[in-house]
């Protein structure tokens, strides 16, 4: 039989070290914990801030909180479009799957003048003040200021607002990607 003394010594000392370090880590986790997640604030800063709810969360801050916990995809913000999705992906260090982004594409509110009754409800809802109008006067959307949050769309009593795809113009058209090459 061999002497078990050294075995007890080594096992004991390593166990003691492990316990001590583990205790230190546990204490640090409790007493030195970071209260608020700064990532959340940074993510919220990247979002448009119109609290439209299209992402499925109540507001932009809630979406940012979910993103910080990796509980939401970066592509959920429709008004933010590709630009915001890419920025969020970069901040979170993930790759964004933008393949279906073209279909969901940016949309702009357009008011059908035949149906508008001039009630001002959309004007008050618009988070970027993109709708101009006066009581009983025709309302119209300033397309450049609209980012498609669709809050106006939800409140219009006559359903005069439609969310339309942004058309390609001569100024925005560009060459598509070349077809895949014939690979050897």
């Amino acid at each position: 039989m061999f002497d078990l003394g050294p075995v007890y010594q080594s096992v004991g000392s390593l166990a003691a070290m492990g316990a001590a370090l583990g205790a230190m880590l546990g204490a640090a986790a409790k007493f030195l914990a970071v209260e608020e997640n700064p990532l959340e604030l940074e993510l919220a800063g990247l979002l448009p801030g119109s609290q439209c709810g299209q992402c499925g969360f109540v507001g932009c801050n809630q979406y940012a909180a979910a993103l910080a916990k990796n509980e939401a995809p970066v592509t959920a913000c429709a008004p933010g479009g590709k630009d915001v999705a890419e920025k969020l992906a970069k901040k979170l260090g993930v790759t964004a799957d933008l393949s279906d982004h073209e279909d969901k594409g940016p949309r702009r509110a357009v008011i059908d003048e035949d149906l508008c009754i001039g009630c001002l409800r959309c004007v008050q809802e618009c988070s970027t003040d993109a709708i101009v109008g006066a009581p009983k006067q025709m309302h119209t959307v300033l397309a450049d200021n609209c980012h498609g949050c669709a809050k106006c769309f939800k409140v219009c009593p006559t359903e005069a607002i439609a969310m339309c795809k942004v058309p390609v113009t001569l100024g925005t058209w560009h060459w598509h990607k070349p077809a895949p090459a014939l690979l050897h």
Binding site: W175, P178, L182, L183, H184
Partner: protein, 359 residues
């Protein structure tokens, strides 16, 4: 909204160039030397050549089939034929068939297709094949024979040649002869100074014309040089790599042999012996594995020349071109990165040029 006319962006004219044309021109440049050597070393050499090229083409077809890629374009453009051709030219002319087959497997399957196929390989496939069999089968790969011209007395006939290539090989003890580089190195290891051993190897004229032992690519240096100059004239290759590589060899050879003529061979010997010409014009200039910018090519050529000289002079192998090229292949991406051309209107660092003069 697009019609058949607007499916592609310009330009709408194209130079009359293609990969096939390039490969065919290179093969044409190699043809005189190949035919000469085929005559010089007789039927066994011809069989070896045929089996190497055929195996390469067959393996390419197999790899493409496995990868699910279209076969016709690759087999027709001549790229794998060139690989097989250069590989055959680097083997001893009377080597057995299985050396050729194994070399081809390393070249086509390992060095080319496992890396992604045409244009994606990091290392020169022919050189990988050659080095693999050189390291694995040193006896067969250094069994050089003296020239046995076709139809000359003493040369093997077709039947005997079939036996040499596919059968029992030739009698290594009685028929093998050392190449010039090999002879010098062996003599040096026996403490015979260069100045003395150099008298016993074929003369310069013999080496240039090709009446000496060696692989296809090593003999007939003049015909290879001619082929290389033809490639330059056709603008398939540019002068940067050949001049850098041969120039470095020449300078190092001449310089060191002045210092110690007994230990070092001179510049002319360095340039005309071994695979220098074929290495400089055909192997180091391989598009895929060499840098794309002219400045980068000069660095690469210099590196190839330096490493070739170092391996020939100090290392265990008599010929260093294959190893030198492979080592420089590994450095090509970094050479490319640091030798990018300067953009128009910008400094080398990429900042816009400062405006000179008043506004």
């Amino acid at each position: 909204m697009s019609s058949v006319y607007t499916d592609k962006s310009g330009p709408y004219i194209h130079a009359p160039v293609s990969v096939q044309k390039t490969m065919t021109t290179v093969l044409l440049a190699l043809a005189p030397a190949t035919l000469f050597d085929a005559w010089m070393f007789g039927w066994p050499a011809i069989f070896l050549f045929a089996i190497t090229v055929a195996t390469c083409v067959g393996l390419e077809a197999l790899c493409l089939a496995i990868a699910g890629k279209p076969m016709r374009p690759s087999l027709v453009d001549g790229s794998v034929v060139l690989t097989g051709w250069l590989l055959a030219m680097s083997l001893p002319p009377w080597a057995p068939w299985w050396v050729a087959v194994i070399a081809s497997i390393f070249a086509v399957c390992l060095a080319k297709h496992l890396f992604g196929g045409l244009g994606q390989n990091v290392f020169n496939p022919a050189m990988v094949g050659r080095v693999a069999v050189l390291v694995s089968f040193p006896v067969q790969m250094t069994a050089w024979v003296a020239p046995h011209p076709l139809f000359a007395p003493g040369s093997p006939g077709i039947v005997e040649a079939l036996f040499i290539t596919f059968g029992h090989g030739f009698n290594l003890d009685t028929m093998s002869a050392a190449s010039a580089l090999g002879f010098i190195k062996t003599e040096l290891s026996r403490h015979v100074p260069v100045s003395q051993s150099i008298g016993q190897i074929p003369t310069l004229m013999d080496m240039l014309v090709g009446r000496r032992p060696g692989s296809f690519g090593e003999t007939s240096a003049l015909l290879i040089l001619g082929g290389g100059l033809f490639l330059l004239a056709k603008r398939i290759i540019s002068w940067h790599i050949p001049v850098a590589m041969m120039g470095t060899l020449f300078v190092l050879g001449t310089g060191f042999s002045h210092l110690d003529p007994d230990r070092f061979t001179d510049g002319i010997f360095q340039m005309t012996s071994g695979a220098t010409f074929i290495g400089a014009f055909f192997i180091a200039t391989d598009y895929v594995t060499s840098p794309t910018s002219k400045r980068g090519q000069l660095v690469y050529g210099f590196g190839c020349g330096l490493l070739t000289w170092v391996i020939r002079t100090f290392a265990g192998y008599p010929e260093g071109v294959a190893f030198a090229v492979l080592l420089m292949n590994a450095l090509t991406p970094i050479v490319d990165q640091y030798t990018r051309p300067r953009a128009f209107g910008r400094t080398r660092k990429g900042e816009p040029l400062p405006i000179r003069g008043d506004k």
